[in-house]
Amino acid sequence: MSTRSRKAVLHWVGVHSLGVAAALFFVLPFVFLLLTSLMGDRQALTRDLWPDTWEWGNYAAVWNTPGFLTWWRNTLLYAGLGTLLTVVSSVPVAYALAKFRFRARRLSLMLVIAMMMLPPQVVVIPMYLFWAKQLGLTGSLWPLIIPMAFGDAFSIFLLRQFLLTIPDEYLDAARVDGCGELRTLLRVVLPMARPGIAAVALFQFFYAWNDYFGPQIYASDNPAAWTLSYGLESFKGAHHTNWNLTMAATVLVMAPVIVLFFFAQKAFVEGVTLTGVKG
């Protein structure tokens, strides 16, 4: 073997060993999580890493915990309806920011970015008082869902970045054919923007699924309105010596997003790239 090809082989081995080591770092927490979720009550409190008996019933026990199904339903409502509203309300705004010429465009875009970077805690006190005293909607998820009908800054920004990549010629052609702006948007732009919309929908779904602060502020005093992310922590509180059940619940909260990811991997990775990199 020549020195050159031996070097190439060594390089391959070195790179892939590092790859395996990194993969262990990323995967082992999941493995320990799964193993513990299948242990018996008492074994989960010991230093054992491998289950003596495989307690698949732990998952049924979590599933049948009072409230767990309600948290599921609430989470689906928040994530599903919220995502739908976000897409419908954000697309026209993003289209205007990407394709219309108007004087306040740059200012509007800067304000969108400012809103995108605004931590929810900054305005939470007036917002809480607004939903509690003006509208009496606290104790439910509506204070989190309704605002999504008014455009989400991050989604608007991401869609705008995507729409910029659609050449103006397509829009001009549609306008020459006599399409108004709304028809141009619906007939020409939307089909071309499908990957961008998919990415935004996924991000928004994940955001709602993962949200802890929102349900904590608006729904904490009403367990019937809790989501999985919020309920999971109280589950730990109620079963605080049952690490096996807590880990099973954790797996059940993680699983849907991971399954969703496998179905929509491409759209997701494209979306992440779109957030950061332009030119």
Binding site: F100, I125, F150, Q161
Partner: protein, 329 residues
């Protein structure tokens, strides 16, 4: 404010001939813009401008949410900066997170991004495995890490003990709680990996080939070709990391609660920051002051400090020249 700005802009546009047809067209186009922008214009007014102004107002009042707010000048502000036992610890924690956690995350993300571009066999599998933890919901991931890093019986300390290494108290020890959170943040480095991977694949191949002909070693190539080419992305990762660090909420709060063994989900009895304020951050302080102590005035001061810091770093992202997210035209 932009609602008014859009039509006016078209209406008073400098224009020589008073052509009524052109004028009507411009007005139509301004109305159309306003119509397309309308969801966000309402959202901006109701969910950003109004509550932000309210927050400023409340910060100068004594207000508990039940009795009417009473103007008290700069009392809340001077309390926060001089007397509050929690504000400066939270700021120090944030500084630690900005320097150590963000630094580690960017370096690790770049390292994993480089590694994935070098892996030639099973790239798809490796990429998916590296990316997955980023998707784990924060509450679930935090619970998992509190379990993994459980000082007495957790798998990590079990392994450390077996190989004769010291076994830290992690989330229960004030000097190890932030490193434990950093480990959690490194686990979820997938977003940075994807961004760096895309940037690394964009570096022109010819530059590497030319450098190789000149006999540059791999470090020299990284230092003189890779880094300069991806430096805007590194800066983007650092600045967004800093913004995220200032907003760090769910992970430290849940880790603190679970490690402290607090029971129940209402959170009324748990003071964030366990152990010993070592995981306290500004957003948690807003929650604590506003929703646990009903001291809305002081909570609003913290909220405004958080706002100012976030916007200062956001401005870095938006500078017209060398701006990072293309807000320029």
């Amino acid at each position: 404010m932009t609602a008014a700005a859009a039509p006016t802009a078209a209406h008073t546009a400098p224009d020589g001939a008073p052509d009524p047809a052109a004028r009507a067209r411009r007005r139509r186009s301004a109305l159309r813009t306003a119509a397309f922008m309308s969801p966000w214009l309402i959202g901006f007014a109701v969910f950003f401008a109004y509550p932000l102004l309210s927050t400023v107002y409340f910060s100068f009042t004594k207000y508990d949410g039940f009795r009417q707010p009473v103007f008290n000048g700069l009392d809340n502000w001077s309390y926060v900066f001089t007397d509050s036992p929690a504000f400066w610890p939270a700021m120090r924690n944030t500084l630690w997170l900005v320097v150590v956690m963000v630094g580690c995350r960017v370096a690790f993300g770049l390292g994993i991004g480089l590694l994935i571009t070098k892996i030639k066999t099973g790239t798809g599998i490796f990429r998916t495995l590296f990316y997955l933890p980023y998707l784990a919901p924060p509450v679930a991931a935090t619970l998992a890490f509190v379990f993994l890093l459980n000082p007495g019986t957790g798998p990590v300390n079990t392994v450390l003990d077996a190989v004769g290494l010291p076994t830290p108290g992690w989330f229960t020890d004030p000097s190890w709680s932030k490193p434990a959170l950093t480990a959690l943040a490194l686990w979820g480095v997938g977003d940075l990996m994807v961004i760096f991977m895309a940037a690394l694949l964009d570096v022109p191949k010819e530059q590497y080939e030319a450098a190789e002909l000149d006999g540059a070693g791999s470090w020299a190539r990284f230092r003189h070709i890779t880094l300069p080419n991806i430096s805007p992305i590194v800066l983007f990762a650092v600045v967004t990391g800093v913004i995220q660090a200032m907003q760090y909420y769910t992970q430290p709060l849940v880790a603190g609660k679970v490690a402290a063994g607090v029971i129940g989900g209402s959170g009324q009895q748990f003071e964030p920051g366990y152990p010993d304020k070592s995981t306290l951050t500004l957003p948690q302080l807003v929650y604590n002051l506003g929703f646990q102590r009903f001291d809305y005035g002081t909570a609003c001061v913290i909220a405004l400090v958080l706002f100012t810091l976030s916007m200062a770093f956001t401005a870095l992202l938006m500078r017209r020249r060398g701006g990072l997210i293309g807000a320029g035209e």
